[in-house]
């Protein structure tokens, strides 16, 4: 899933400053699961903006609403007329949602309330960790299902650097060394011969931006 976190409140407040009628739009998918941009968070943010504007004695409308997926035109089309009555939509979706909405609404600016962080997994209550860099050239099949491109800060493909200390990463000591994890996993699965194979440099042309994908049935 995609993990995103809310921008600092002051930045959001400044961003919508010039708009009288604002809709805070939560997204019912990834950001709802990671508890940063769903219905509850949209209502809280709208309330905070109303209070801030009240303190500044400014007349303004700040409403809240949530749709299931902002990155899918089908869901956006259903609320297009309603959304068009606002001066701005403050989106709590990821960067894909914000860009899709801008494309499909056209006449209403859609502003990001979130910083999109990564593709990740939940690793405990309220904690997510990035696990996929969307590099377009997946190596999980030869690394025991643990991604070194993402989980090693240096993206090394051929084993640990000299920096791991007691199995922890030198860059962030609270994180285990990805290559220690990969080694353990592959040893456990009897795949050490595979571990010993030299891996060639990655083909970064597969990550040329913007990425494109066409479904061929």
């Amino acid at each position: 899933m995609i993990v995103a976190e809310a921008k600092p409140f002051d930045e959001i407040k400044e961003m919508v400053n010039g708009y009288r009628k604002v809709l805070v739009l939560g997204c019912g998918s990834c950001v709802t699961v990671c508890m940063s941009g769903g219905q509850k968070e949209a209502e809280l943010l709208a309330a905070a903006l109303r209070i801030a504007r009240g303190i500044e004695r400014r007349e303004a409308t700040v409403d809240a609403k949530t749709i299931l997926r902002q990155c899918d035109e089908e869901f956006v089309r259903q609320v297009r007329d309603e959304l068009s009555s606002y001066d701005a939509v403050l989106s709590m979706a990821c960067g894909a949602g914000v860009q899709g909405m801008n494309e499909w609404l056209r006449n209403v600016p859609v502003l990001p309330a979130m910083n999109t962080r990564f593709i990740g997994l939940c690793e405990g209550q309220g904690k997510w960790v990035e696990v996929c860099a969307a590099c377009g050239d997946c190596v999980l099949g030869v690394t025991g299902g643990i991604c070194p491109v993402t989980s090693c800060p240096k993206g090394i493909l051929n084993g640990p650097c000299g920096g791991n200390k007691k199995g922890r990463c030198e860059v962030s000591p609270d994180v285990p060394c990805a290559w220690v994890l990969i080694y353990e996993r592959m040893k456990e699965r009897g795949k050490l011969e595979e571990f010993k194979k030299e891996r060639a440099a990655k083909d970064w042309s597969k990550r040329q931006r913007p990425g494109r994908y066409t479904h061929r049935p």
Binding site: K165, K166, G167, C177
Partner: protein
């Protein structure tokens, strides 16, 4: 004789380290070059060590070469992609550099430009592969070069890491990728090193043991706590302590010299790499006490 020729002839070699300055004043650096010339066999020139931005290792390597000190150009993958690395390698060769040490490189967060974008397009094993390729007259993409290189390429290994198995696999990968010599992270336990060497000796590579001079009890404890891959044994710390605060450095120099003597007498490795961080001027004294001058 060059470093390569000496190692191939079976000579016990000594390398040291010089760090490019932060800024254009090379005065102190020139003093270090002067001090090491004619004493050590070659000197590593660090590449923006610890991710702190300094004069590039290539420029200082050329300075060293012109002033009679054979350089080992350190190259990390942190700041340049494969185009930049190959281009700098060709440039280094044109300017007369022959020794190159291939490393992945410390992460940007350890340096003084923490907001920099780290590159790591490739890493140490792949960089060794590139050097091998340039030596064969082709670039990484397979294009023919108008004149190939003749590098003597090395790599690093951490024999005293607390998680050795995958490190040994990586050592083997580096050998297969073309590493001709290795310089190790600091070693303090000769017995542990000797068991590492019985593994390393099964490969056709030269190994230079890393020697770090202990300056004080505090420094030893600090390294044990914070520096990955370094383990200073308790008895050495006790030895420093018993020398007293004022004589600790002198005792540290003794320890380094003793280790070098042991390594050489027992024929454990092919040379030593002395990392006298901040006390470069002591290198000749260490060598003297080790019976190498």
């Amino acid at each position: 004789m060059t470093l390569r020729e000496k190692l191939n002839a079976g000579r016990f070699v000594v390398t040291a380290e010089i760090g490019p300055p932060k800024g254009t004043d090379v005065g102190r650096l020139m003093e270090h070059i002067e001090l090491l010339r004619g004493k050590v066999d070659a000197a590593n020139v660090t590449d923006n060590q610890s991710a702190v931005m300094r004069v590039c290792s290539l420029a200082i390597s050329v300075l060293a070469l012109r002033n009679g000190l054979e350089p080992i150009l350190q190259m990390t993958c942190r700041d340049r992609n494969r185009i930049g690395l190959q281009s700098d390698l060709l440039g280094a060769h044109v300017l007369g550099i022959r020794n190159v040490l291939c490393m992945t490189g410390d992460y940007v967060s350890s340096g003084d430009h923490k907001d920099a974008k780290p590159v790591y397009d490739i890493e140490s094993v792949q960089l060794l592969r590139i050097v091998e390729r340039l030596n064969s007259g082709r670039d990484m993409a397979g294009n023919e070069l108008a004149g190939g290189t003749d590098f003597y390429q090395g790599a690093v290994v951490t024999p005293e890491t607390d998680y050795l198995e995958p490190q040994l696999v990586k050592f083997e990968k580096k050998v297969n990728a073309g590493a001709r010599f290795f310089q190790t992270q600091a070693i303090f336990d000769i017995e542990a090193f000797s068991s590492f060497m019985s593994f390393a000796r099964t490969f056709p590579v030269k190994v230079l043991a890393g020697i770090v001079v202990l300056k004080s009890v505090g420094m030893a404890n600090y390294m044990n706590r914070n520096v990955p891959g370094i383990r200073v044994p308790e008895d050495l710390i006790e030895e420093l302590r018993s020398a007293g605060r004022e004589n600790a450095l002198d005792r540290g120099i003794d320890i380094a010299a003793r280790h070098i003597r042991q390594l050489k007498e027992k024929n454990l490795c092919d040379g030593v790499h002395i990392m006298a961080i901040g006390i470069e001027e002591k290198v000749p004294l260490i060598m003297e006490r080790a019976g190498l001058l």
